[in-house]
């Protein structure tokens, strides 16, 4: 990722969390949430890659992502 580029839209993350929880989000929480999201995405992609390799796909297909979504989400369930 380029350094000058924005990594992610902070406001958007904040909005999403705000909408779902109906609560305000304090100052740096959105960053932490995004970091958590990055972890989640990492897990998801790892699992999807494994799944794709198992099935024998070359890239990562939507199917393999969907298959591992539930498991990955369960890992990040508080």
């Amino acid at each position: 990722m380029a350094a000058g580029q924005k990594l992610y839209p902070r406001a958007t993350v904040k909005k999403i969390v705000k909408a779902h929880s109906k609560r305000n989000v304090s100052k740096n929480v959105d960053v932490l949430i995004f970091l958590d999201y990055a972890l989640f995405l990492q897990t998801l992609m790892k699992e999807a890659t494994i799944n794709a390799k198992q099935v024998g796909e070359r890239g990562i297909s939507g199917k393999s992502v969907k298959k591992v979504t539930e498991m990955s989400l369960a890992k990040f369930k508080g």
């Binding site: 999403i16 705000k18 929480v29 999201y37 897990t43 890659t49 494994i50 198992q54 890239g59 508080g78």
Partner: protein, 504 residues
């Protein structure tokens, strides 16, 4: 033979105080190497008298017992040395042994000691194959290495090969660690999966390939969750992607309205919206539409109840159709026949994308069929009505597909979704997600990771679910703490609660 000789020579040693006999022999044996071999040489040597020898004699007289001690104390090292130096030579050539032995012998004074030494030498030479073994044996006794080796020999039978610790306790320790530490430790704790479980769910995949049913995650079992739960108006949900509802809340009742499903489309358009709940879970049987009661139960929505019941029946039971003539068209969305239908269609269904403009082309065709169906067979009987139904369903299928595609477009355009609190929210921009996902896919080992559109869609869906899940949890923690804002401590709590789920 030496033992015998030693027994023979014991008397002279006993007479050691007597200088003339025992003392001289002992001293000679010590001084001259050759004497050790035979009694004759001893005797011959005793005759000669040199001043040096007499001096030695004198020196030895006051302490007659010392030679014995010396022999016992100094003997072993000397013999050992000789044995160490040329064990094999001694064994092979007796001559060499004799020379060497005689060279060392002077230390042993008495013939008994000599004999014993010789005996020892021979024995060692005979039995020990080499000096190395002896040395190793000594090392074993003395060095720490030997101690360690002994320890290892003690432990070897008891110790077992290391077995990787099972997941359960590992997870618990991980939890503890995280509680103590900061969030930064989280990535470290993640253990890489070292193996690929091959062929784990091959058949599952096959089954996945064959029927492209609804777009939701289908091969999971949702039946338990879908029982008796309130249903959501499916008309607002895009079939391919559920705008909200975390994974736990995704039920078949939510997915039921997937119009791509060929089996579902056969049932008809309206049923998928209002009474479709039962079709999603079960197999689609067109005959099921006949049940009035079923439809009434399944349509939880107020608006749909009346129109649906009548509409469905109209297809199969023409007799009842006569009663509710207004709503028969609802099924096939034919506005022209009855002016009263159109408002019904638009208002209650509340479909943003479903517009009448698209339908007419198809509807005209449908109309013709329908009219013939409705007008003619109504009074008569079911068989004709059924045949008409089938043809109608074909056309409606096309209809549905078109409408569906349009709806998807619309949904894609409008990014805002509504949370369960009724607040609109955007999803993360696809570019950001794609960039992150590509990076992580590359990290995961897929060097030339390509994420196609379909995969990105799935990832976005997963992201939405993730954010909803996380936000729910965070909100719950904040609420529990009596706060109105989500704090950093909430996130700490959240991440501390993460438990690694064993991979199935």
């Amino acid at each position: 033979m030496s033992a015998r000789r030693s027994s023979r020579e014991r008397p002279p040693t006993n007479l050691a105080p007597n200088p003339s006999i025992g003392g001289t022999s002992a001293q000679q044996s010590r001084i001259t190497p050759r004497n050790s071999d035979g009694d004759q040489t001893i005797a011959s040597a005793a005759v000669k008298e040199t001043p040096w020898r007499t001096l030695n004699q004198l020196a030895n007289i006051p302490r007659p017992t010392t030679p014995l001690r010396r022999a016992s104390s100094a003997g072993p090292p000397s013999t050992r040395r000789s044995g160490r130096r040329t064990p094999s030579g001694q064994a092979r050539t007796p001559g060499a042994q004799r020379i060497l032995g005689s060279a060392k012998r002077p230390i042993a004074i008495t013939p008994h000691g000599r004999a014993a030494q010789r005996e020892l030498d021979q024995r060692r030479a005979g039995f020990t194959p080499g000096k190395d073994r002896r040395r190793s044996g000594r090392q074993q006794r003395e060095t720490p290495l030997g101690i360690l080796r002994a320890l290892s020999r003690q432990l070897a039978p008891k110790s077992l090969p290391i077995v990787p610790t099972p997941q359960g306790p590992n997870a618990s320790t991980r939890l503890n660690v995280q509680r103590g530490d900061d969030l930064d430790d989280e990535p470290d704790m993640e253990r890489p999966r070292l193996s690929l479980p091959m062929g784990e769910d091959e058949d599952e995949d096959d089954s996945f390939l064959v029927p492209p049913r609804s777009a939701g995650l289908e091969d999971e079992n949702f039946t338990v969750q879908s029982v008796e739960l309130p249903r959501r108006a499916a008309s607002e949900l895009p079939p391919g992607r559920l705008s909200r509802g975390s994974f736990g809340s995704v039920r078949m009742s939510d997915v039921f309205a997937d119009l791509n499903d060929p089996g579902m489309v056969a049932d008809g358009y309206d049923s998928s919206y209002l009474a479709g709940g039962r079709f999603g879970g079960d197999d689609d049987i067109p005959g099921m539409e006949e049940d009035l009661a079923l439809q009434g139960e399944n349509t939880g929505t107020l608006r749909g109840r009346i129109s649906l019941a009548s509409g469905r029946e109209s297809d199969i039971r023409p007799q009842i159709l006569a009663a509710d003539d207004t709503e028969t068209t609802f099924v096939l969305t034919v506005p022209q026949r009855d002016p009263s239908q159109e408002p019904e269609l638009d208002e209650p269904l509340d479909l943003p994308n479903f517009e009448n403009d698209q339908a007419p082309d198809e509807e005209n065709k449908v109309e013709e069929l329908e009219e013939t169906d409705d007008e003619e067979p109504e009074p008569q009987g079911s068989p004709e009505g059924l045949s008409g139904d089938i043809s109608m369903q074909d056309t409606t299928q096309q209809d549905v597909e078109i409408v569906d595609a349009q709806r998807r477009k619309v949904v894609r355009k409008k990014k805002l979704k509504v949370s369960k609190h009724g607040i609109q929210y955007p999803s993360l921009p696809a570019g950001v997600v794609k960039k992150l996902a590509t990076t992580f896919a590359r990290t995961a080992g897929n060097s030339k990771a390509k994420i196609n559109k379909e995969a990105l869609e799935a990832i976005m869906q997963a992201s939405d679910w993730f954010f909803e899940q996380v936000s729910d949890d965070l909100g719950a923690y904040a609420k529990h703490a009596g706060r109105k804002t989500i704090d950093e401590s909430d996130i700490v709590t959240l991440m501390a609660r993460y438990v690694e789920v064993p991979v199935k």
